[in-house]
C-alpha cells in the first residue's frame, strides 16, 4: 500500500450503526434476554481461599420445593487434561471445568462449588444455604514470594515447573520458568557508566467492566441448545462449553449479546456450562447473572506481579544492557501473561544485550484473565521507571533519551524477529512537540512520561457481505463489538463499495450463521475482521463488474467501478450498484462476497503518555492534573473511536496506578469486592485526556491499520508512577499510589 492513500469515507467521524439502540436503551445486553418459562440460577461460592472439599451434600437443596435443579462438578463429563483454544490463547480444559465448578479442592475465596436453579433469583439465592459443604482448611498462599518459597504449601501436587532442562523432583507453585536473552548483559553492564536497578510491585487489579457476566441458556435434547451471553468471543464460548459438557459443536448455538465491556475479561467461560446443566436438569431455560461481588471475587483479575529491572547506560545516553526479572500471579490455575511480559518489557529499546527471566506462579486467588495488552503493563512499568530514573541521573530529557535508543525498523527484538516499520520515534517526536510537554509544569506538581509496546494480533475472521436488491447491504461478521467496531467495518466496506456507509448494516452473527471467527481481543478486530470485510467487499465489486460486463458483452477488465457506478470503458453504458443488484436475478442470482481469513501481519502499536499530578502532602491523595496520550494507529478508520480507545486505556491505567487493588485479609478473603472500595476512576477524578493519533501505516493491512485497543493501558503505570515520585521527590516502586502508600512515602523519606 502507498503511504498517502486518499479515502472517501475512512477517517470520518460517522455516527455508529448501533448507536440509536444504545442511547435509547433498546440494545440487548447479557442480562436482557428473557425466555418463556425461564428460571434463575445462582452459584454457591467458597468462603475459604484454600481448602479440601470433604463432601458436598445437595439432598436438602434438591428436596426443597423452590429448587428446580442443582449442579456440581460431577455433572461435567469425565475430562482429561487437554489444551484447547479458549479466548486468551489456550487453556487446559480440565482447569477450565474445575474453575467453573470446583472438584475436590477450592482454590480461592469465591471459587464456584455448586449452582441452584429456582423460579426467581431470590429463591435460588436463598436455597444456596441448603447445600452442605464440609471443608478441610488449608493454608492460603497469597503472593508470589510466598508461593515460590521452597517450603510453600503447594496448590496442585501434580504441577512441576516447566522450563528447566530437567524435570524438577518436587511439585511446585511455579508453573513455568522462561528465560529470553540476546547478546551479553554482563559485558553490556561492564560498558555502562551508570546502572540503575530497582524492584517493583503491581497489585491484583480487575478489568472492571460495568456489565456483570450474564447468560440465558436453553438445553435441548434434540440438539438445539442455545447460549445467549455477553462475551468477546462466542465461538470460543461454544468450543469451551461443548468440551466440558461433551457436546458436539453443531448442537450448541452461541449468540453474542451486546457486551457491556470486556477488556479481555470476557474471553473465558464461567457460568455458561453450569447454566446448561441446570437447564438440562430442569427442562427450563435458565438465566444466570453474577452479582458485582461475584465478578470481583471469581472472574479474571490481572496478575499481581513482582518485578526487577536493571538498565546500564553510557554518559551519552546509549543503553548498553537491560535485565529483567518477573514473577506473575496466575491465580488458582497456571497461565498468567508472564510470557508477553517477558517479550514486551524492553522492546521499545534498541539494545543488543538483554536478558529477561519470568515465572508463572499459582496462588490462592481467582484465575487471572486477559486484561488489555495482557502482561505488558506490569513489565513495561518496571522498565520505564528505570529509564526515567536514568534520564534524571544523566540530566537528560527523558524523550531525548528514548529517541536515542528507540526501537525502529530493523531493531532486533528479544522474542525473535526484527521489527518492521513502527511508529515509536514518531510518537516520541509528537510527544516532544505536544502542547502538554511544551508547557511548564505548574509549581509543586510532578510530571512523568512513559512509552508502551504491544504486538497486536491477527487471527481468524469470517465475513460475508450480502447485497440487497436495492443496492444496500448487510455486513455479517463474527467479532463482538465492544467499542464501536461495527462503525469501522461499515466504513471499510463503504470505502471498497464506494457507497455511503449508512447503506451498509453490520451485524454480529451467531455461531450458526458464519464460520468460526476468533473473539474480539488483542486489538485484532479492526485489523483482521476489517481485512475480511475489505476482501468480502472486493468480491462483491468483482461480481458487480462481471455482471455488468455480461450485460454489455464486454470483459470484466473493460468495466470500471467507481463512486458506486459501473462503467463500460469500451462504450457509453453505465449502471449504478443498485441497478446491478436489482437485476441480479437475471444475471446469475444475488450478489454477495465472503472471506474467511486467518490474518497475519498485525502491526505493533507504540504509545507514549505524559502525565502531570498534584499530590496533597497532608493526605497523600494524588490528582491527575493534565494527561496526554499519543499512539500510532497505523491508520485511524474512525478517529473518534480511536481517541476513545486511547482515552479509555489511559484512564484504566491511571486507575491501576493510583487506586485499584484487591485487598485480602489474612485468610485470603477479598475485603473490597465492590465499586465503593475497589475504586475505579470517576468523572470527577479526571481532567480531559488529550490525544494525538500518529499514523505510521502497517504495510500488511490494505489501509494501514494497526489496532489500538491494547497499547494505551501500558504507559500510564510508569507515567503516573514517575509523576508521583517526581512530585514528592521519592522513588515510587509499589503500585497503586493510593493515599496511605503515598503518605507513607512522604513521611518515611
Amino acid at each position: 500500500m502507498s503511504e498517502a492513500q486518499e479515502f472517501k469515507y475512512i477517517g470520518q467521524r460517522t455516527v455508529r450503526p448501533d448507536g440509536f439502540d444504545k442511547v435509547t436503551g433498546r440494545a440487548a445486553y447479557g442480562a436482557d434476554l428473557t425466555l418463556p418459562g425461564m428460571i434463575w440460577g445462582k452459584t454457591l461460592r467458597s468462603p475459604h481461599a484454600h481448602a479440601k472439599i470433604r463432601s458436598i451434600d445437595i439432598s436438602k437443596a434438591e428436596a426443597h420445593p423452590d429448587v428446580m435443579a442443582v449442579a456440581t462438578f460431577k455433572d461435567f463429563v469425565t475430562l482429561q487434561s487437554e489444551s484447547i483454544a479458549a479466548g486468551e490463547g489456550s487453556a487446559d480444559v480440565l482447569d477450565l471445568a474445575k474453575n467453573c465448578l470446583a472438584d475436590d479442592k477450592v482454590l480461592y475465596h469465591g471459587h464456584a462449588i455448586a449452582a441452584i436453579a429456582a423460579r426467581t433469583e431470590q429463591a435460588a439465592k436463598d436455597a444456596l444455604s441448603l447445600i452442605e459443604v464440609k471443608y478441610e482448611l488449608l493454608k492460603p498462599v497469597m503472593d508470589v514470594e510466598d508461593a515460590m518459597k521452597e517450603d510453600a504449601v503447594v496448590l496442585h501436587d501434580d504441577m512441576f515447573t516447566a522450563g528447566y532442562e530437567e524435570k524438577p523432583a518436587r511439585a511446585s507453585n511455579i508453573a513455568t520458568r522462561v528465560e529470553m536473552k540476546m547478546g551479553d548483559v554482563d559485558a553490556g553492564f561492564a560498558d555502562a557508566d551508570v546502572i540503575v536497578e530497582r524492584e517493583f510491585r503491581t497489585p491484583t487489579a480487575h478489568q472492571g467492566y460495568i456489565e456483570p457476566h450474564a447468560c440465558t441458556v436453553t438445553y435441548d435434547e434434540d440438539g438445539q441448545s442455545m447460549i445467549w451471553c455477553c462475551t468477546q468471543g462466542h465461538f470460543d464460548v461454544r468450543t469451551s462449553t461443548a468440551k466440558v459438557l461433551g457436546m458436539e459443536l453443531s448442537k450448541l448455538k452461541v449468540v453474542a449479546s451486546e457486551i457491556g465491556g470486556g477488556f479481555g475479561g470476557k474471553t473465558v467461560i464461567y457460568q455458561e456450562p453450569v447454566a446448561l446443566i441446570l437447564s438440562k436438569k430442569s427442562g427450563r431455560p435458565v438465566k444466570m447473572v453474577m452479582d458485582r461481588d461475584e465478578v470481583f471475587i471469581a472472574t479474571g483479575p490481572t496478575s499481581a506481579a513482582k518485578l526487577k529491572a536493571k538498565v546500564g547506560i553510557k554518559k551519552d545516553g546509549t543503553i548498553t544492557a537491560m535485565q529483567g526479572w518477573m514473577a506473575y500471579e496466575a491465580g488458582a490455575f497456571k497461565g498468567s501473561p508472564m510470557m508477553p511480559g517477558v517479550m514486551t518489557m524492553f522492546t521499545p529499546y534498541d539494545c543488543p544485550n538483554v536478558l529477561v527471566e519470568g515465572f508463572d506462579v499459582v496462588v490462592n486467588k481467582s484465575k487471572v484473565a486477559a486484561y488489555r495488552a495482557p502482561g505488558a503493563p506490569q513489565a513495561e512499568y518496571a522498565a520505564e521507571m528505570v529509564i526515567n530514573e536514568l534520564a534524571e541521573k544523566l540530566g537528560m530529557d527523558p524523550i531525548d533519551l528514548r529517541l536515542k535508543n528507540a526501537a525502529k525498523e530493523g531493531t532486533q527484538t528479544i522474542y525473535g524477529p526484527k521489527l518492521k516499520k513502527v511508529g515509536l520515534v514518531e510518537c516520541l517526536e509528537a510527544a516532544k512537540n505536544s502542547p502538554h510537554y511544551q508547557s511548564a509544569l505548574p509549581e509543586g506538581q510532578g510530571r512523568g512520561l512513559a512509552a508502551g509496546f504491544w504486538f497486536n494480533v491477527g487471527g481468524q475472521s469470517s465475513v460475508t457481505v450480502n447485497m440487497n436488491t436495492d443496492g444496500t447491504g448487510t455486513i455479517v461478521e463474527g467479532s463482538p463489538d465492544i467499542g464501536g467496531s461495527r462503525a469501522s467495518m461499515q466504513m471499510m466496506a463503504a470505502e471498497v463499495l464506494q457507497i455511503e456507509p449508512k447503506h451498509l448494516k453490520p451485524i454480529i452473527a451467531d455461531t450458526e450463521n458464519l464460520p468460526y471467527s476468533q473473539g474480539t481481543g488483542g486489538s485484532r478486530t479492526t485489523f483482521a475482521t476489517g481485512m475480511a470485510v475489505i476482501e468480502a467487499s472486493e468480491k462483491v465489486v468483482a461480481q458487480v463488474k462481471e455482471r455488468a460486463a455480461a450485460v454489455w458483452n464486454v470483459t470484466a477488465e473493460q468495466v470500471d467501478y467507481a463512486d458506486g457506478v459501473v462503467r463500460n470503458t469500451a462504450g457509453e453504458d453505465s449502471m449504478t450498484l443498485a441497478e446491478v443488484c436489482k437485476g441480479a436475478e437475471k444475471t446469475g442470482g444475488q450478489i454477495s462476497g465472503s472471506a474467511n481469513i486467518n490474518a497475519r501481519g498485525a502491526g505493533p502499536s507504540f504509545a507514549v503518555h505524559i502525565c502531570d499530578v498534584a499530590v496533597d502532602q497532608e493526605t497523600g491523595k494524588v490528582d491527575v492534573t493534565r494527561y496526554t496520550a499519543i499512539q500510532d494507529a497505523g491508520k485511524a478508520i474512525h478517529p473518534g473511536y480511536v481517541e476513545g480507545q486511547l482515552q479509555g486505556g489511559a484512564v484504566q491505567g491511571i486507575g491501576w496506578a493510583l487506586n485499584e487493588e484487591y485487598i485480602f485479609n489474612e485468610d485470603g478473603v477479598m475485603e473490597n469486592p465492590g465499586f465503593l472500595d475497589y475504586r475505579i476512576p470517576l468523572a470527577s477524578d479526571l481532567p480531559m485526556i488529550e490525544t494525538i493519533i500518529v499514523e505510521v501505516p502497517n504495510a500488511f493491512h490494505p489501509y494501514g491499520v494497526r489496532g489500538v485497543g491494547e497499547s494505551g493501558i501500558i504507559p500510564p503505570l510508569g507515567a503516573v508512577g514517575y509523576a508521583v515520585g517526581n512530585a514528592i521527590d521519592r522513588k515510587v516502586e509499589e503500585l497503586p499510589c493510593s493515599p496511605p502508600r503515598v503518605l507513607a512515602l512522604i513521611q518515611n523519606g
Binding site: G89, M343, P374, Y415, F455, G709
Partner: protein
Amino acid sequence: MAIVIFSSELQKLTGEEQTQVKAIVFKDIVAEIANQYPALEHDALMKMAVAIDGEIIHTPFLEKVAPDSEVHFLYRISGG
C-alpha cells in the same frame, strides 16, 4: 536455503543459534528441524507461532518460505 534462528530457549535444545533448511513450506521446516535436533518436539514446534521475514503468523502450517527467508519460532500472543 531459509535460515531458522533459534531463540535462547530453543537454543537450550538445539545447542545452536541457527540452521539452514531447504523446505519451502513451514510444516516441512518443522519436520526437517525436528529430525535434525531430536530434543525439539515436533508437536510443540507446531503449536508455536512463527515470524517469517518479520511477519508474525500464528498458524503457519502451509506458509511458504522463500529461499532467503529468515524464520523465528515464537510464543503465540493473544490479547485483551
